[in-house]
């Protein structure tokens, strides 16, 4: 009986892991706010990037303001390879990263070890 419970429990747990981690719905796109100097998006860093899909207007200077709440070393750095940016993110502070969305397209960004991802859509 114990064995049956353990077996079923394991299967259930595996199912939960698969559903929770691999069945994640695609997140919605957040548009940048227009400011006097260009456009701006606030991104909270806590177990990932929130929002993690942002849309910028092409040709308008953009500020991405990262606020890192997560002390996990995974988030020590944020890397935006297509914009040539790799920078450290301080914990508990709003940290500004300026990008020049000159070209249209979808550009990935990630943590230093490329475990957590975000996407910048330039239109």
């Amino acid at each position: 009986m114990n064995q049956l419970i353990v077996g079923l429990g394991s299967l259930g747990l595996i199912g939960l892991i698969v559903w929770w981690f691999f069945g994640k719905p695609k997140s919605t796109i957040t548009n940048a706010e227009t400011t006097a100097t260009g456009q701006m998006v606030r991104i909270t860093v806590s177990g990932g990037y929130m929002p993690n899909r942002i849309q910028l207007k092409r040709g308008v200077p953009a500020k991405l303001i990262f606020t890192r709440q997560d002390t996990s070393s995974c988030f020590d750095e944020v890397v935006l390879p297509d914009f040539g940016i790799k920078t450290k993110l301080p914990v508990g502070q709003a940290f500004e990263v300026t990008v020049d969305p000159a070209k249209p397209g979808n550009f990935k960004y990630s943590c230093g070890m490329n475990m957590f991802h975000g996407e910048i859509i330039v239109k």
């Binding site: 064995q3 353990v6 077996g7 394991s10 747990l13 595996i14 892991i17 698969v18 929770w20 981690f21 691999f22 994640k24 806590s46 177990g47 990932g48 929130m50 709440q69 997560d70 002390t71 996990s72 070393s73 995974c74 890397v79 935006l80 390879p81 914009f83 040539g84 940016i85 790799k86 230093g112 070890m113 490329n114 475990m115 957590f116």
Partner: protein, 631 residues
Amino acid sequence: MSTRNLFFLSTILSLPLAVSMFGIELPGGAYTMAILATAVQFGCGWRFLMGAWHAFLNRAANMDTLVAVGTLTAYLYSVYALGSGKAMYFEISALLITFILLGSWLEDLTKGRASKAIEKLLGLQAKDATVIRNGHAVQVPVEQITVGEIIMVKPGEKVALDGEVVEGSSSVNESMVTGESLPVEKQPGDTVIGATINQTGTFKFRTTKVGQDTLLAQIVELVSRAQASRAPIQKFADTVSGFFVPVVLILAILTFDIWYLLLGASVTTALLYAVAVVVIACPCALGLATPTALMVGTGRGAKMGILIKSGEVLESARDIKYIMFDKTGTLTNGKPVVTDIVGDDHGKIIQTAASLEAASEHPLATAILEQAKTEKLPVQPVTQFEAVSGRGITGKVDGRPSLIGNRTLIEDHQIEIPYSAEMSKLEAEGKTVMIVAEARQVLGLIAVQDQPKANAPAVIAELKAMGLEPAMITGDNERSARAVAKQLGIKKVVAEVMPGEKAGEVTAFRTRGKVAFVGDGVNDAPALAGADLGIAMGSGTDIAIEAGGIVLVKNDLADVVHALKLSRKTFGRIKLNLFWAVIYNLAGIPLAAGALSSFGFTLNPAIAGLAMALSSVSVVTSSLLLSRSKI
């Protein structure tokens, strides 16, 4: 609290638990153990729990997830065991956290060293400079200095910005920016580079570049971009890291099931194997393999004056078949010089030639005038000067009818040419031969050539030894191009190419195999972009940011070899790191799951955690060793 302090605190709290592993009972027994383990789990290990929780809420998993699941399983089971009188494993959860904190601390230290290059470059920038304003020397912060100002530099001082020497002379140590090991002499008219150090004399220079336009700022920008770039080989690690942690969690559940359900082991034994699987797996080693090697490789390159623009460039450099050089200014000095004078009176030949050439704008004229200057022969007045297109020059030098030109010009004037054999020999060597005549008599021959750089043959030989086939492209005629190529040991020659046709020729050459093109970044930009790998040789304070995958700050041909070796070594290190990270996980997980238990080999979960902590440290250390490898 810093990772280092947390590690020390965790060590102090875990030590009594470690001692208890050897059968020594602690005062207060199991309850003391529970208190100590709780302090480590929720005090020192709080960051892992929070990291895992934040990721979980975001439906993601990371390293913290593995640490949290592994340690919490051991801890909670021990709490249950405490209540039910079974065997406890408080020491495992506490030691795991201690070892992982040790790994994080070491990783921070090594990662810090790997990413020092940009900080070092930024640290080179001068803070202020002595500016001459209204005839007075004033100390001005460097950010307030504008283009066109005059700056005075004394011995031992830093050259604040890029500029051109206007007064005085000195030797300057440029090694920190260009990688040039020998001091460079500076005279009025020479360019100076910001952040270099003046050594012997005092001089003044006019600023030509400030702020983001300086060579140092451009180098910092380029290296920063390279370090933020990704190498295509990383794609594999990126794909794996996307599902790594959930898969490990599933493997741990399966390990428990196999031991408990199929092999009939106790819950405790099955649980310990499952915990070991969770804590031995290390996605960090995979994630660190490429960026750390890229950081060290590009940082070392910057120190040597070799700027590798991205991870993609490293991959391109690995399977290059042909290395094609632009001839003029790259393989040669880019400045024709007089190499031979044939005739009885060398002085008269040069003086007559220089007098005629003084009014000419032909590039070869400079070589002859330079020779006359060296031999201290004054230029004589010329009347009835006439430049005969494609042939030469005629005129009266000091009243005597004279001419300098090619064979056709002499034949047009029906003058007999006495030095035919010598002329043919010089022409066969790829030299441009001019005949000098006076009063219908040939005085002699002058041969001019843009000579190969002194180290060019050695560089070509080394590239061949590396398995590359050198080629040369030039606008020169076939015969002189082949003559220079022969001197250098180059067999493949593309001659008589107009400047605008170079890019097309490079593209055509790519049908034979992957081509690296070496040229100057300004004139050869299309050809550099058209090659599989463009290597732009720098000149002065302009580095071609847009052209080429590799930029050589100083104009030294040997850096082509260094750049290719560094690229290959860095890429090799990335492959080695990735291989190690994959093998570690592939071998470690079955080992932790007890695959070799029938041979008596099992892994204590605490040791599995130590292996995990050290695996990422070993990847970063391997990358750091790149800075010591021989280039």
